[in-house]
Symmetry: C2
Subunit: 387 residues, 2 copies
């Protein structure tokens, strides 16, 4: 495989965008990313999106967005892996350039969740679970996470309020991210008083329903010098899967797909846990932060919540997470999330993050995008230097 | 890019499968393809599908099917490009192996259109068009094709009954294909009496709503000798796009994306029109056969219908099309269609087609899968020898 690097990025603010549809949001992010590179076209175009068909009656999304971005004619394909769709599109762009089929590729993730009723959106999100054996029984996505959280609390003897640490970290960082949906701090007493959604998951455990788009331009090494920004190298981008339904797993508290995709990413890059300076994880629910950290090998089983309370994952901790607010406070426009994570890690490695959340001398970052309750996990390692 | 070849194929019959859902259909095709290669796993898994979310409430389809095929853990991503989703998944599998990221990849296309009301399926299919500027006005997919057919008849002075030739060819070939939905001949007088759907498109101009799945296994050259079947080489697989909405095109009768993807495929393979011995085209509607042949350079503008009537595209003609019945008579399970075409071309090149439709000494075949009214076109060239 040929080495590839990120040479351009773009993102819209994450919020309820009542003045922009899918195509307008996507095009904003695409143009920003192309402008950064002084490009007006690319060789291949991938869109990450989960719910455009179900919520807005629009499939065939990649070709549509290519057209509205002024790229008619370009190769365009949509990638879908539920909430992991953004990183899935990124993975395809990496393969297209690494194979030599393309010199410059663009991946954009976009989701528009607020164009319909919340009820319909909740149903749509549940289509990441097993339609015949989970959602047919009436379980929602929040309820699946509630089962996991309850079991984790029982197994490792945590109190509900212990999870507050993850929410506090995310919101503290989001204050400084101009693209974040919730730019305010959250304190433990607010967390403890938050409205219950599906016991024990409360409103502050849950990432918000939101709209947004994020894009990256990827280039081969041959073309790298033509771009004004420092290239950020893709040291690894690896996908692994697990069963969709939780009840098919040996141990629902262990994300096998995280373990496997991280192992593959370290094998591909030659790096180890020690090299990772920040971890943009998939905190769709606070329980997912804990499971992701443990499955990925950044915390022993049952210890992630304790480490969070000890400051391990704060912006000045040993392994900062959710440095721009994460899914929790930046917001979670499903199919766009994986690309927001990659855009944010790129800003950190370029040294372009807002001052209060910029990590000093960030050289290596990991991002992890999750589809469903851990059924598809895509782990990416980015590096300031070519490895 | 590394050379890649097709080493295994599988397909289910195309029909209304009342006894099998999405996952069962897909798994049947996947297992056939793996069995042919004596494989029990692969490195990466792509699913081509358009409407599982809209029609059956199931997104996250690639990981789900991987699980039910006994491949839990494998990299799995769904590719969507409307009716071009099957070949889009194939394209991703080719890139994964060509890049060196995988040695063996599997692409399966699957669609289940009959699990809901015909009304809902028709709405779903219309989501391949522009939701805001076409379908919001009430136009269906058949109606878009009716506009194209009417204009073609006016522009090139054809009678409606002239299009019968395409239907006769497809049905004559399908008689011999055990997987085809309609294994009976159709004669001109039947075509002329067929019920009108959207004038001038009648029932026999239209491919049927159907269920089905088709799969192929792709291997790198290094691993080719371990497989029992003769490898069929992927000489080219190229994607091009056009505007989604017909009214945004300079000339709606000219499929620019066909012209461009065929040009790219010839450039990649070093082949020319003369080398192509059969053409599995995307005859979702009979007008699409004509436009595809002309845009691809196999007929001058306005002449494809005349050539069809002269026997040019019959099984014993100069350029046989729809040799297994095409979308018209084999059936059109949307996201699976592109992979049915590739499976059928592979059978021709292996010399394994049923006797009455086997082309003597077939060495080079082209397939063309179309998303929407020509907005995404994926052209593949397969070869019996490595070029």
């Amino acid at each position: 495989m040929r080495p590839v690097a990120i040479v351009g990025i773009g993102q819209t603010p994450v919020r309820e965008h009542w003045d922009a549809g899918l195509r307008e949001l996507a095009v904003q992010a695409v143009w920003q990313a192309l402008d950064e590179c002084h490009l007006d076209t690319i060789d291949v175009f991938y869109v990450g999106n989960m719910l455009s068909g179900t919520l807005t009656g629009q499939e065939h999304l990649a070709t549509l967005i290519a057209e509205y971005a002024g790229l008619t004619g370009v190769e365009a394909i949509k990638a879908e892996a539920a909430c992991g769709s953004g990183a899935a599109a990124f993975r395809q762009a990496v393969l297209a350039v690494a194979s030599g089929a393309a010199e410059v590729a663009l991946a954009v993730g976009v989701e528009k969740l607020t164009e319909t009723s919340t009820h319909k959106t909740t149903d749509g999100l549940a289509s990441a679970a097993d339609a015949d054996y989970e959602t047919a029984m009436g379980i929602s996505f929040v309820a699946l996470n509630a089962l996991l959280m309850r079991r984790y609390m029982y197994e490792y003897r945590y109190h509900k309020s212990d999870f507050s640490a993850f929410i506090e970290i995310a919101h503290r960082n989001a204050v400084h991210n101009p693209h974040a949906m919730f730019r305010h701090r959250v304190h433990r007493d607010q967390y403890e008083r938050a409205k219950m959604v599906a016991d024990p998951v409360n409103l502050l455990d849950s990432s918000p329903i939101a709209d947004g788009a994020a894009a990256v331009v990827i280039s081969s090494q041959d073309r790298i010098n033509q771009f004004p920004n420092r290239p950020i190298w893709v040291a690894a981008c690896e996908v692994s899967t697990d069963t969709i339904a939780l009840d098919n797993r040996e141990n629902p508290l262990w994300l096998k797909a995280a373990e496997r995709s991280v192992r593959k990413a370290f094998k591909t890059s030659g790096l180890t846990h020690r090299d990772i300076q920040l971890f943009e994880l998939h905190d769709a629910f606070s329980i997912m932060s804990a499971l992701s950290l443990e499955g990925s090998g950044f915390a022993e089983r049952g210890t992630a919540v304790r480490l969070a309370n000890e400051g391990h994952f704060a912006i000045d901790g040993l392994l900062p997470i959710s440095t721009f607010g994460g899914l929790k406070a930046r917001g979670h426009p499903v199919g766009a999330t994986g690309l927001y994570q990659i855009v944010e890690a790129t800003l950190q490695l370029r040294g372009q993050a807002p001052k209060a959340i910029q990590l000093p001398d960030a050289r290596i970052a990991m991002t992890q995008n999750i589809g469903g309750s851990g059924a598809t996990i895509i782990t990416t390692i980015l590096s300031r230097e070519r490895l």
